[in-house]
Amino acid sequence: MAFNNFSEFLIMGAHGIYVWSAYGFSAFALAWLVWNTLATRRKTRNSLRKRLLRNQNR
């Protein structure tokens, strides 16, 4: 481990704010990407299934 304790890890020799904001933004963007992918997947499947059921009932 390159740091002695956890707070040192957070501060990162005064560069913490930069490192953590860069990682924070990246994590946010990647998470959004995953969420967007899974959500459109679910929505598409649901709407297709609904349409199919509607057509069957008719």
Binding site: F9, A22, Y23, S26, L48, L52
Partner: protein, 248 residues
């Protein structure tokens, strides 16, 4: 060499069932590698003797920047494949890949800007690499905007392919031209021909996170392509079956 795989790839049904067994494993492997690489890089790798701890941004910045370019390369190749062989999967790939590439370019830009502040003392410089990633981002946004504003599927497919191919031809020219502007950026971290200058405990985690992000993105794109295939092929029987059988 057998071309059977190429024709198989062109069939949405075959691709769908093939990708189903690959998407989740790739995504999981990606997540694990990314996690290992990032934790290793953030907590265990030694600090850079010049830049201190701010260099740890490299472990997300470099993989993302590499992906932003690889995605564009892949888009261009897919566009070419579509224009020449009319392969049905190529536009599906372009449609699914473009937003992913755009997010990669955006992360590269933002993390690069944040890294620039402690290193060069400024958020932004009109340096070759930054400018070319910015252009890359704009190209991605152009493709996405074009796809969203056209409504005829035939036209969407052709248009996206055309603009991707053009971008692929133009990208080296753009890169060459912006290199002529002044450059502040450090040289490439990995090259195929030379041994990395960093010590292994610094570049090994980077390798992990690069591979991890590639797998992560591959899994995501496969998922997105599945969704796109379902949308486009919704009249065919296998899609109806698929939708009714599997809840999610």
């Amino acid at each position: 060499m057998s071309w059977a795989w190429f024709h198989k790839l062109g069939s949405p049904k075959w691709f769908f069932s093939w990708s189903k067994s690959w998407a989740l494993p790739l995504f999981c492997v990606g997540c694990v590698c990314l996690f290992v690489g990032l934790v290793w890089g953030l907590a265990f790798a030694p600090a850079d003797y010049q830049q201190g701890n701010s260099f740890r941004i490299i472990y997300i910045h470099v993989p993302v920047a590499m992906l932003a370019q690889s995605c564009y390369l892949a888009l261009g190749v897919a566009g070419f494949v579509f224009l020449v062989w009319q392969m049905k999967m190529a536009p599906v790939f372009i449609k699914s890949m473009a937003p992913v590439g755009a997010v990669m370019a955006l992360i590269a830009l933002v993390s690069g800007a944040i890294w620039g502040k402690p290193t060069w003392g400024t958020w932004w410089v009109w340096d070759a690499r930054l400018t070319s990633v910015l252009v890359l981002f704009l190209l991605y946004m152009g493709i996405i905007a074009l796809q969203n504003s056209l409504d005829d599927l035939v036209l969407v497919n052709k248009a996206a392919a055309v603009i991707s191919v053009l971008g692929l031809i133009n990208l080296p020219i753009i890169k060459y031209s912006v290199v002529l502007l002044e450059t502040l950026h450090q040289g490439p971290t990995f090259t195929l021909t030379k041994k990395p200058e960093m010590p292994p405990e610094m570049w090994l985690p980077l390798l992990f996170s690069v591979i991890g992000l590639y797998c992560f993105v591959a899994g995501l794109v496969l998922w997105r392509m599945q969704t796109e295939i379902l949308k486009r092929e919704h009249r065919s029987n296998w899609v109806k079956q698929e939708v009714m059988e599997h809840g999610l």
